[in-house]
Symmetry: C2
Subunit: 190 residues, 2 copies
DNA sequence: CGCGACGTTGATTTGCCTCAACGATTGTGG
DNA sequence: CCACAATCGTTGAGGCAAATCAACGTCGCG
């Protein structure tokens, strides 16, 4: 049983004890060391990953051959390449552990079975996707309406601890500017 | 019965004749004139809208008091303020008809009933949300990795007819630059 | 017909990038 | 455990892409 997972699920749908057990039985536990790649370009994304402990990033190599961080995932966050899962095609992304991590994997095959046996889990995933969609849309809004400094300060205010937790150049990449520029912002006002 | 809607749904899940009828019975048909506001800030988003004919935009008034277009929806596209729906809170967005439109509304109340009576519709909406999420994530990728001219040409190539269909300043806003800049791009090469 | 909304074009400004060099910190093999 | 390399962060100088400001042309609609 994975209480972190169950607590998260139970915030959105109610499960019986049996269903809880069934859900946890479908999850595969991965224990990975820092810098391990959980997903690589060219490979199929195996399913949805739920971070129990640690911290993970998703990134892509751009046409200019630079790393572009597209997402982070902390404890109790889901992460996956939905494009690979949806279209059943090889991924273009990397997913990498930034710390030693415990991660649960719900494979696509298990997901399908789970949805049949526990339809409430499909509701849960619908809500998760809806929340993810809202989050990315807000991110687009920030990118369009704030300049780089405003965006950094807003993000740093939103996730105060997080800014210290990952290398600055990854955060800069995620926020859409250069590490140099970020360094200048931080030098300005303490 | 609304064949456009059914054709779209049937691309993702299979419905019986009864279920098709049930689905259509839950939809409310709106016929609106150009420039009509379907959603306004301060009001609750009533549900999910499916565009039968015409064209619609979603936008927000930014802190700098300018319009920022966040989304367009053409025939057979869904549109809604998912943030308002998810959190049951008043919207911050406008949704406006850019042409005379026929639009179907699935109210939140009807959606809940529909999902109970036809669980396959929850699958369908889960997949729609997943696709929407992937689409916005790709948009973020384009914003981070292409300059404004590349992004315009890419978009114009992707939806050739669409570029003519909406006012240029709305498209410029959606793509994240100024109408003046867009005009210069188009002047460059024909 | 006249007004307002939309598109174009030019001149200037600016926010951020690029390139480059230099510290600080981490980690790794001898 | 130390030495050295690699990685990461900082700082400065110069350059460029796109914004802003402003004026003018044009189209569509009441």
């Amino acid at each position: 049983m994975y209480p972190e997972l169950l607590n998260h699920v139970k915030r959105y749908v109610q499960l019986t004890a049996d269903e809880e057990e069934l859900l946890c039985s479908k999850m595969e536990l991965l224990t990975v060391k820092k810098k391990t790649l959980i997903l690589e370009p060219g490979k199929m994304c195996k399913g949805n990953y739920f971070v129990l402990s640690g911290c993970v990033r998703q990134y892509i190599i751009t046409s200019k051959l630079t790393e572009q961080v597209t997402q982070f995932a902390l404890e109790s966050w889901w992460i996956a390449d939905q494009e690979s899962l949806l279209n059943k095609q090889p991924s273009n992304y990397y997913i990498q552990a930034l710390e030693d991590c415990d991660i649960l994997l719900l494979t696509e095959a298990n997901r399908v079975i789970l949805f049949e046996q526990v339809p409430k889990m499909e509701s849960y995933f619908r809500i998760m996707m809806q929340k993810s969609f809202v989050a990315v849309q807000r991110r687009v809004g920030f990118m369009l309406n704030m300049n780089d400094e405003e965006r950094y300060r807003y993000f740093a205010g939103l996730y105060p601890g997080f800014v210290q937790r990952v290398p600055q150049y990854m955060l800069a990449s995620f926020l859409g500017f250069t590490p140099q520029f970020m360094s200048r912002i931080r030098a300005k006002k303490v």
